[in-house]
Subunit: 416 residues, 2 copies
């Protein structure tokens, strides 16, 4: 390694002066693991561990049905959303936690198409996260081309494609593969100038990138509860709907929890106030309570501090590997400019899958993304700068030793 | 009480000879509580308690993202469904657990409308469970009257309303209020004779009533995980799709988990095999794992045994109260013929809400259903015959003492 790279001693001073260093103790982390996958499934917090026990054993187990009132289960979609609000730069009255990102996108897309009639086109990006495209494709098949057409273009063609025929612009801020980051404020304003509504998928942003949805006058957004928010596997997602739309919205993915008075058992649907109408069925309370608790780790820190550390971690990673000969076979697919990427780095390699498996077995947990991407996520609440040094050491060793060529890595596991 | 009612001693012999008596030990039940609300939120099983701890602390906490493969999280929608299959009389290849009842109904209704074009009418019952009606109303508003119209009729007008204009008949077997039970086999056959597809909501049936979906050639069904299945608050629901439809189905509520190869990150949706296409977003794994474990209590018992005890419990209840003068002010709203009702009894009373609150405070947990219904649920895996005696004693005492008139019960809680 070139002498211009920081030494381990220098790196340890970064940890000593890290304002987020104490946050690590709020997480349950397995030993001998460097977890560069908090962007895929965030780890368990100690608070969520306690809350899981509490909601299962104390609430459901002892208080049973009375818990809906006694432990305010009925309010959890809103109380959890209140904790997401500061991370989005949003007034909490515009947020609710429920269902999955896919289902919530369906709610928003169908709502936007209703609001925008006679416009019928959903504009998105060819390499948007696949589930986002699948939701729109399904809606198109359900409504038929007379009511809905999905149009996808390359990222650099988006601005040129914004015109008065487009009903809704539907994008993910941070690309799941390479981490490329859109300028939400600019694209939102350009779209709105053409009378287009904008839906942002913030799954790879929330909890790590600074967001100012209210200031940017974003129309709608969704995001994932289980990545940087650490809400647990398949945690409920959130929906943001700017309050200027609340009166006009008639969200059609209806269910009793979105009714203005669910326990009146009225045979006719009457939409709940504000974002309440985005609720559909009974929330998965155990998963939602765990998300609610996981969000508490954000209560005493600023998103700018988190983002600053995320950037410092990924820049350190790049600095540590830039002069290693053996690493020249990895091609950086993410922007080298941290302001143009999310809190992740993607590298391509023809043996990416084997390298990921070998790293994971060595305790450096990273993601493979088909066909040839190794993805490193920099979730700043539990990662130390020293972890980055250790991870790059292991990466270099893996590439030198070529352990990734082992036969056992040739067959892909079901989930990659 | 009339001497023709069984004595407590006689009732205790029923418990002694109950083949399900030992099942009670598999549940965590609070002391001093008689829980006649297992039809609304089933109690925690000891297995689910352990599994909750395991999935949170051992799997998510220690094995993190690797758990998707290592602990087969990815298969949970199917492995849990395999345990539901025998309760439905269904081959497991037709079942998957995911999302909520409301979302799953939306999947089925939109699928059926696609299959049935040019038919556009959804036929349901005026007093179907409200969320079922809301889902259909929302779909109608989304698709417009050219593609979808909801028609509702009274229960006794359903058969007469079946004609060649109807796309789908959409009913709940057991009415949530009075427990009235439809004849699934008869209605399914009558509808199919007119080329109508049938969707059954089995939320108040599954786990307590004998079902033979395959033998009855039912087209589609959904059901709730948190009532008689004891899967926990907001547990995932299930979907049944008869295999004769699998090839033709193009389920439009799409998401990556329903793709035939989710981790290929293909920009175009290609439906998963069979019922896999009914998956949408990432499943709420903690809630799903708990449901999966809760279902294990059914592994060594027959549904006919469960149903037999449910009937015996509700008949005992009716027998114990039939001669009590003070109870004559309660009007039985359920059928007196157990073969015509589900595992519940509903009574109307002008002070129903106060009576429910007073009973609940006295440890007899029952449900209020607006506007004037007291609902008693007979979930046979943890209830003893003696509990029925104690519950009726408390009911009589409450009505005699008129404790339900207390000021504190005059204001309704948020969740009733």
């Amino acid at each position: 390694m070139n002498t211009s790279s920081p030494s381990l001693q220098q790196i340890r001073t970064l940890d000593q002066s890290d304002p987020l260093a104490a946050k690590r103790d709020e997480f349950v982390l397995p030993s001998n693991t460097i977890y560069l996958n908090g962007n895929s499934l965030g780890p368990l917090t100690r608070g969520a561990q306690r809350r899981g026990h509490e909601v299962i054993e104390q609430q459901w187990g002892k208080d049973l049905i009375a818990s809906w009132n006694q432990h305010a289960w009925i309010d959890l979609p809103f109380t959890s959303a209140q904790k997401v609000a500061p991370l989005l730069g949003a007034d909490a009255s515009q947020l609710v936690c429920c269902d999955s990102v896919s289902i919530n996108l369906l709610k928003l897309l169908s709502t936007c198409l209703q609001l925008q009639r006679p416009r019928t086109i959903i504009l998105s990006q060819e390499d948007n996260f696949p589930t986002d495209l699948y939701v729109a494709q399904g809606l198109q098949s359900m409504l038929g081309p007379g009511l809905c057409q999905l149009k996808t273009v390359a990222a650099d063609e988006l601005i040129g494609a914004l015109d008065e025929n487009i009903a809704v612009l539907f994008l993910t801020e941070v690309n799941f593969r390479n981490g490329d980051r859109h300028d939400i404020q600019q694209l939102t304003a350009l779209a709105q100038n053409k009378g287009i509504l904008v839906i942002w998928d913030l799954s790879h942003s929330t909890g790590v990138l600074p967001l100012h949805l209210d200031d940017w006058a974003v129309d709608f957004a969704v995001g994932c509860g289980y990545k940087y928010l650490n809400g647990g596997p398949g945690a409920p997602a959130f929906i943001y709907a700017n309050k200027r739309h609340h009166e006009r919205i008639e969200q059609p993915i209806q269910g009793w929890m979105g009714h203005k008075d669910p326990f009146a058992f009225d045979p006719s649907y009457k939409k709940g106030l504000g974002v309440a109408q985005f609720l559909t069925g009974t929330p998965a309370i155990v998963s939602l309570a765990i998300l609610d608790s996981a969000l508490d780790v954000f209560s005493d820190i600023e998103i700018t501090t988190i983002y600053g550390k995320a950037t410092a971690l990924s820049e350190l990673f790049l600095g540590l590997i830039k002069d290693a000969d053996v690493l020249q076979e990895l091609k950086l697919e993410s922007s080298a400019d941290p302001s143009l990427r999310g809190a992740q780095l993607a590298f391509s390699h023809s043996d990416a899958y084997g390298i990921c498996r070998a790293l994971n077995e060595a305790g450096v947990v990273v993601d493979f993304r088909s066909p040839d991407i190794i993805r490193f996520g920099f979730s700043p609440l539990f990662l130390r700068f020293e972890d980055i040094w250790l991870a790059t050491q292991m990466l270099m060793k893996t590439l030198e030793d070529k352990t990734y060529l082992a036969e056992k890595y040739s067959r892909k596991l079901k989930v990659t």
